[in-house]
Symmetry: C2
């Protein structure tokens, strides 16, 4: 088994050969990688079957479904790699150019970072997505996936490496770490001098570990405790649509809503309609109802309304941690607030800085919210579910940054580059 240390050493040595590759060479490699995925489909499916066998009985059905590969899914992965090839090259852009004294020419030019390491969890398609984005942005790629997808990820990586070689590039530009213990993640976090950027994609525990342990440069992604605030001046129909879409259209993703704040003036009218929409209507339509975890004031409105119908069993009392939890499920914490300022202050204390929305027809409330909420994406009258590289015009996405330095929100190819100043003179000296 190749050690993580050996992988890092070889990736670092190989990286310069890619940073100076032309756009055409990189695109040729990406097309060859896509072809190799298709050619290797039989092997990839066999290895995926091993992962599936090991996972059965130990993993919920929704996770099993994520882990499963099919011929169609492999074709989608290959198409994804080709789509990355068709994006503009983020390397070699002249970001600024100025002329100094005596003909001194100063260019600010985008360059690859070098070696990007990515720690991720179960979905096998992240392997090909991440590899393609790294290669296109001129970066060597060290992947450290979850152990539940180990065989699948290895088969995918082997195919992609074949593609690199077929296009005349070094196979050392792409590695999958073979050690899936917690120690190998820590090793990447501390690989100063080998890893130029570490992207942890995972739960709050992984991100916290990076903040505490990483000595390499790091971009924290993903954790999303996203809020929707329904203002006193909200259009109730828009609010119902937005809350349902943000919460229930795909609860397992990071841009899904986890907490709802409702202005006290609109709460008595809005909350009963919300109960109907998120519970009764959804049950009637055969969709999973949303459990509402209510703070005291919300409970007063919904539980004391005398209806005590069937749907009331989906109303529960919010516990201490419910406003700090990424449920990733059909669960929504609900709180009544006194003002837009209160909403902003609650979000400041509980949001992970991912995506937060206000629903209001009052332009003053909207602007107060936009200025007061310090999150990567701040919405007025739209669902938080739009936070996504594709929707934001990046054409792809390497994860969603919840930090403020370097990249914020969806990371595309440009966010996977740095820059250098190149200064050309004719013997210029500084006086």
């Amino acid at each position: 088994m190749i050690t993580t240390q050996e992988i890092l050493k070889r990736a670092k040595e190989a990286a310069p050969s890619l940073s100076s590759a032309t756009t055409e060479q990189k695109n040729e490699a990406l097309y060859a990688m896509a072809d190799a995925l298709m050619a290797g489909a039989k092997d990839i499916l066999e290895q995926n079957a091993i992962d599936m066998d090991r996972a059965k009985g130990t993993m919920p059905q929704v996770m099993l479904d994520r882990l499963l590969l099919t011929e169609d899914r492999i074709r989608d992965m290959a198409d994804g790699v080709r789509a990355v090839a068709d994006l503009p090259d983020p390397v070699g852009r002249i970001l600024n150019e100025i002329s100094g004294p005596d003909g001194l020419n100063i260019q600010k030019v985008s360059i690859p970072l070098g070696v990007i390491a990515i720690i991720y969890e179960s979905r096998p398609n992240v392997t090909s997505d991440a590899a393609a984005l790294c290669i296109k942005s001129g970066n060597a790629c060290v992947l450290r996936g979850g152990k539940e997808a180990f065989y699948s990820a290895n088969a995918i990586t082997d195919a992609l490496k074949e593609g690199l070689v077929a296009a005349g590039l070094s196979p050392d530009l792409l590695f999958l770490v073979q050690d899936t213990s917690r120690e190998s993640a820590t090793e990447l976090m501390k690989a100063k001098g080998y890893v130029d950027l570490l992207i942890p994609r995972g739960g709050a525990g992984l991100i916290r570990s990076c903040v505490e342990n990483a000595t390499v440069e790091c971009i924290k992604t993903g954790t999303g405790i996203c809020h929707v605030y329904v203002d006193a001046a909200a259009d109730i129909d828009k609010a119902l649509n937005i809350v349902e879409n943000a919460k229930a259209s795909r609860p397992s993703v990071c841009n899904a809503e986890e907490a709802l704040l409702v202005h006290r003036n609109i709460a008595p009218e809005f909350l009963p309609k919300l109960q109907t929409r998120l519970i009764d209507d959804r049950i009637a339509e055969g969709k999973p109802p949303v459990e509402l975890r209510l703070d005291e004031r919300a409970a007063e409105i919904l539980k004391g309304d005398g209806s005590e119908g069937e749907s009331d069993r989906w109303l529960t009392d919010a516990g201490e941690n419910d406003f700090d939890t990424e449920f990733l499920d059909y669960i929504l914490a609900v709180k009544v607030v006194d003002s837009v300022a209160d909403a902003i202050s609650h979000i400041g204390a509980h949001s992970t800085g991912h995506s937060d929305a206000i629903v209001t027809e009052d332009p003053k409330a909207a602007e107060a919210f936009v200025n007061g909420v310090d999150s990567a994406a701040v919405y007025v009258n739209a669902s938080t579910r739009f936070t996504d590289g594709g929707q934001f015009g990046l054409g792809c996405e390497m994860g969603i940054s919840t930090q403020k330095l370097h990249a914020r929100g969806p990371m595309g190819l440009e966010e996977m580059t740095s820059y250098k100043y190149v200064i050309r003179g004719n013997g210029n000296i500084r006086s």
Copy 2:
């Protein structure tokens, strides 16, 4: 004495009031800060005299001179603050704007980071420079200076706070940490949730401590082991001018040259001329000569030349660490290399990634160097001394980043901002 914890709490609370301030409010505050510096000059000079008294006998003359304030220097500081007011506002720029489906409008807008902490050393003028750049970029500012300038920095900070108040802003937007122990630096490094960006400006020890301890986001600045490589195809006159300028025009700064690499083919002609230029000529002109610390091959050329003149006592043998030392003095490590590839590889192993130069008339060697050297500023036929915010068109400088994320090279006002996505809809949901 106010604790660092209390300072951080108050700065964090005050920051939003500045992030939403208009350009006019910020500029008015900066002009008021400059006026307050002039009005407080007498007190500042008195407090500076205390620092000078304490420092005498414990500090070399060059450091004492840096510490000393005069009326002229205070006027320069005030002028510096006014110059920052006259720079464009980096906040509120629309960096990108796209239209999504159904009238969804997505803007990427520059915003302040929040609270910026700066750890710096002795020069009192950094206090006003850093404060002005933070206020202009909409950030609250927590300064932690060296203890040798403690009284001066406090007097300057007090004056600047008066300026903030005179312009109607909160005095809590600017603090000087009162605890100058090493622990207070560590406290800033770990102030997650309070410090949005930490900028350590200092020696290698401080930077290393940040890499190892910081849990807040950090930009490493400053340390410069800069190289000049004199290629086989160099114009010797240009090379002599550039090497002397890069080494000796101001040896105490981070963009000064510390190591010289010379191609073996040109070394026998170039090195004796270099000895004349950096030692004999400078002695004759009454300037400090440059000590040349020679590797074995360079020593063979210079020491075996039979001249054994007076200037030979400035030739010494390079020790093990001389190619990894930021001398900040009239000392230059000299090494003979076999090729441009060797030079690139030596620089990759020993440079701090700040500024490195090639002197050559061969365009192929120049491009190999530009592509192969992974530093913030890479020069062809020009002195490394140009790496500076003013020279690079930024109008100011908060330090020179030697890392690759967020900011690389000189940091100006734009590098002291982040961005957020603001999405405005009319009830839009994602399908």
